[in-house]
Amino acid sequence: MPGNALISSYLRGLRRRLPAGLADEVSDGLIEAYQQHLASGQSADAAARAAVTETGDLGQVVGEFTRQAPGRSTARALLAIGPVVGGCWIATRWWAWPTPAAARLGFTAALLLMISALAIAATSRHSYRRTRLTAAAGPGLVILDATVITAALVAPALSWPLVIAVAASLTRMALTLTALPRITTA
């Protein structure tokens, strides 16, 4: 790591606010610029200022990455299809199933928690870390879908709304599981 304080501070900021792969990439460009300005005869401080200017404001760099983070776009997609899946389950009148009230309450609380986490990830504009809430909320949603599908097995009777709701949940589970690797590796 270069000994210049401005460069070191910028690199620390990158490490703190971006995943390692993204921070490494921007760091490489910053150091390359710094070294080229040093080689052209500038002082260390002038070279550091020029390199930081060429790289851009740290907040702006983090914001650019955040707005296209896979966790953010996946959270938006899940929030968009959520009402459709939820509507399918409402059509089954699931509350009439013989399930304990505590289980229903726990399910609803967990669902609200997942929705809140997804909403934070979906609306994040300057915090990459927040977009990674989808990596936790996504599997949580898969578990909730699996739970409600399992509960459907004890439903009083098979009906078309039930079949459609199960298909909707299975589709959401597949979409979520497909998107998760991109979120965890980005």
Binding site: G21, V26, D28, G29, L30, E54, D57, V61, F65, R67
Partner: protein, 114 residues
């Protein structure tokens, strides 16, 4: 005079693909290639270029790979077959667009009607 950043952003993907047409480059080299080819008019911060390269990679238009350079990790990008097709399409569309606009802007191309 620097070009307007917002106007440039609208064409950024095409320009980035063009800088990779002749071979792989890392992000800083892409920035320098853009700056040199535009005679310093397009002087984008690299912090804008890296996210755009990642977006192009997600879209399958470029492929990135890591290497080691001077004790640090470096990500280099190259065009994929889909990226080459996109660039060819964008280039043809751009040339068509600019030729039409240029024809309209010629002083004698829009005579006044009585």
């Amino acid at each position: 005079m620097k070009a307007e950043a917002q106007v440039l952003k609208g064409h950024l993907d095409m320009l980035l693909l063009a800088t990779l047409e002749n071979g792989p480059r890392h992000g800083y080299a892409v920035r320098e290639a853009l700056r040199a080819a535009s005679r310093s008019r397009f002087d984008l911060p690299t912090g804008t270029i890296y996210p755009a390269l990642r977006r192009l990679e997600t879209a399958g238009l470029v492929k990135g790979r890591w290497s080691a350079e001077g004790g640090r990790r470096r990500r280099t990008y190259e065009l994929t077959a889909a990226g080459r097709r996109r660039l060819a399409g964008d280039r043809a569309a751009w040339r068509d667009f600019t030729s039409v606009v240029s024809a309209i802007l010629e002083p004698a191309s829009c005579p006044a009607t009585p």
